[in-house]
């Protein structure tokens, strides 16, 4: 049974005669991994935003586990995303001035009055798992590879069923990129989470390293599968 049920999605921007994105249908099973590739400007980020509920479509339906994201309010989608989606982005979006641990905890801390102790130990465990040992270090002083690993730990903290990564290795050197790619797929598998990665990086797209992940190709707004 698919967890993702996406149908007849069409996104149009004013001034363009062709839709920026037109996907007749996509289904993902629980725990499935998918790599989304395609030239820049093809609509990858828009597509990911739809999947994570950051954007809503006027036409079509995006449903996870039976929850129709289009039917949720803005705050409702924020709540849903906080509970179900872990996001990793190209630019990390860590908050300088806060430590690695505080960065991992920040989204959850802003959601509640008191942070459960269990979350704090889980954050420390995740940081250990991604290889960040000095959890009190200000993230501004970390290397880029380390920053993205902190971001991966943050994405996993709430034990999300869905992990969405947008070009997670694009701004990293090869070695760091490989480490992050391995962490992402490995941790998603450990957690049994559905993983969707938008990337050009052969680390994800090459059949040898892709493993069992499906390869989705987005070109000029339409989706094809290899």
């Amino acid at each position: 049974m698919p967890v993702l049920d996406l149908r007849d999605v069409e996104i149009c921007f004013p001034g363009l005669d062709r839709p920026a994105l037109a996907v007749p249908g996509l289904a993902l099973a629980e725990g499935e991994h998918a790599v989304l590739t395609g030239p820049s400007g093809a609509g990858k980020t828009t597509f990911l935003n739809l999947l994570s509920g950051l954007e809503r479509t006027a036409r079509g339906r995006v449903a996870w586990d039976g929850v129709d994201l289009g039917a949720l309010s803005e705050s409702g989608r924020d709540r849903w995303r906080a509970a179900h989606v872990g996001l990793v982005m190209q630019d990390f979006h860590l908050f300088p001035g806060l430590s690695a641990l505080e960065n991992v905890l920040l989204p959850q801390r802003l959601r509640r009055f008191r942070l459960p102790v269990a979350l704090e130990s889980e954050a420390a465990r995740l940081l250990g798992r991604v290889g960040i040992l000095r959890t009190e270090q200000d993230v501004a002083t970390l290397s880029r590879g380390q920053m993205q690993r902190v971001a991966v730990a943050r994405a996993l903290l709430a034990r999300p069923g869905i992990i969405v990564a947008d070009e997670p290795t694009a701004s990293l050197d090869e070695a760091s990129g490989a480490a992050v790619a391995e962490l992402l797929t490995g941790l998603a598998r450990e957690a049994g989470a559905t993983l969707i990665v938008a990337s050009h990086d052969p680390l994800f797209t090459r059949p040898a390293s892709r493993g069992f992940a499906r390869l989705l190709r987005l070109e000029a707004g339409s989706l094809a599968e290899d």
Partner: protein, 426 residues
């Protein structure tokens, strides 16, 4: 959340401090204007408290009060000496004392008067009241000691005054603190002033011709037959003669302080001494009129201060909006990672209000300090103690200012709240 705000403020410390300083200065401007105006009003009202009725020659009421109560010497027209004699004999008068000025010593005004005024101001705390013409009583704040001797300076040093040749006075008593400019005055017997000036006038007349006999305080009517031969010299080493004051033929006087026996007497006295030859005023009444002018000035200054505050508010709002726009990606990311919209609102609002609020509080403190400094300068220059202080009525406008800060902070907060996380991340 607080850690997050603190981290952001630390990262932009220079800008935050600049905004804090601007808010504080704008607030201080308004606070200082309000406090200073109140201080001037209270200080001068307290200084005038001791003086019920002042009688002088017809002329400017305000100048009469400024000269007699606040000892701001200026040329005053003179009344005939018989006025004092009449007042001393009047049954409605508890006491009446002449005031003659024009001399000074080391920048302190010398006031010629009678023992009645010293008793009326509360008497002496040290030593005794002057009993001879070459004795003096000093105000509570005068930096002389009992037993000191000084030479009176004719006119004001700043106007090229000169020392009265050979005259020297001995300090014999110190006045009780009055909280008025009289605390900085040196009191001598009025007869001594008369004699000094008659002496100086003839000296000048002999030297430079009659014009030079002009005296800034207007003592030129002093009778030449009172001329003694200077002092330090035995002519001044004589006891006071109470009868000299009651003499209808006494020299002219610029002002007389009168303590009426009752309120009704005060009004009757004022009535009967408002005429062709004299002018009677209640200092409190004249001050009230002055406060009207002061109040208008405060309104103008207040409007300027509020205008400045409004401009500062607008400029700061723009600075904050720019800052929030620069942070759109950060705010969008917070939302994308699952921070609720209200948390975003609270963060932005809290951060802006923290800076504005701290600026306002610092400004209130700064305004208070500025008013203190200004008032102590005024007090130093005039001798009028200037009590700076907040009153309960100040709470409301200050709370209003804080509320305005809270509302201003809401603008960028709502902007951040409404921002779509996807648009911010693009």
């Amino acid at each position: 959340m607080l850690r997050f705000i603190a981290a952001d403020l630390r990262r932009h410390l220079a800008g935050v401090l600049a905004i804090l300083a601007i808010v504080a200065l704008a607030t201080a401007l308004g606070v200082a204007v309000t406090l200073q105006e109140r201080t001037l009003r209270l200080g001068s009202a307290r200084a005038a408290d001791a003086f019920d009725l002042v009688i002088g020659a017809p002329g400017a009421e305000t100048q009469l009060v400024l000269s007699s109560v606040f000892l701001q010497a200026a040329p005053l027209p003179l009344m005939r000496g018989s006025v004092l004699a009449g007042l001393l004999a009047d049954p409605r008068v508890a006491w009446a004392a002449p005031i003659g000025f024009g001399d000074e010593v080391e920048g302190l005004p010398i006031v010629g008067t009678s023992p009645a005024l010293i008793a009326g101001l509360g008497g002496v705390t040290e030593g005794s009241v002057f009993a001879r013409l070459d004795e003096a009583v000093i105000g509570a704040a005068v930096p002389f000691r009992i037993g000191d001797r000084f030479r009176p300076m004719h006119g004001h040093a700043s106007e090229g005054g000169e020392v009265h040749a050979g005259v020297s006075c001995e300090v014999v008593g110190r006045l009780k603190p009055t909280g008025t400019p009289w605390d900085r005055a040196v009191l001598v017997p009025i007869e001594a002033v008369w004699r000094l000036h008659a002496h100086a006038a003839t000296e000048h007349a002999q030297k430079d011709g009659p014009q030079a006999a002009h005296d800034p305080a207007g003592h030129d009517e002093a009778r030449p037959d009172e001329v003694a031969h200077g002092a330090g010299d035995p002519a001044f080493h004589v006891p006071l003669d109470p009868a000299a004051l009651a003499d209808p033929g006494a020299p002219g006087l610029p002002a007389i302080l009168v303590k009426p026996r009752s309120v009704a007497d005060a009004y009757r006295l004022r009535q009967s001494y408002r005429g062709e030859t004299t002018l009677a005023v209640f200092p409190a009444e004249v001050l009230t009129r002055l406060y009207g002018v002061l109040g208008d000035a405060r309104l103008v200054l207040g409007a300027v201060a509020y205008g400045a505050q409004a401009l500062v508010g607008a400029a700061i709002l723009i600075a904050i909006l720019v800052h929030v726009l620069q942070r759109r990606r950060q705010i969008g990311a917070l939302r994308a990672f699952g921070a609720p919209r209200l948390a975003v609102l609270a963060i932005v609002w809290g951060e802006v209000f923290l800076v504005l609020g701290l600026g306002l509080l610092a400004g209130i403190g700064l305004g208070y300090v500025a008013a203190q400094v200004l008032s102590s300068h005024v007090a130093g220059a005039t001798g009028v103690p200037m009590p700076v202080g907040f009153v309960r009525e100040d709470v409301l406008p200050l709370a209003g200012l804080l509320l305005a800060g809270a509302l201003i902070a809401l603008v960028p907060a709502v902007l951040a709240y409404r921002q779509s996380p996807a648009a911010a991340l693009r």
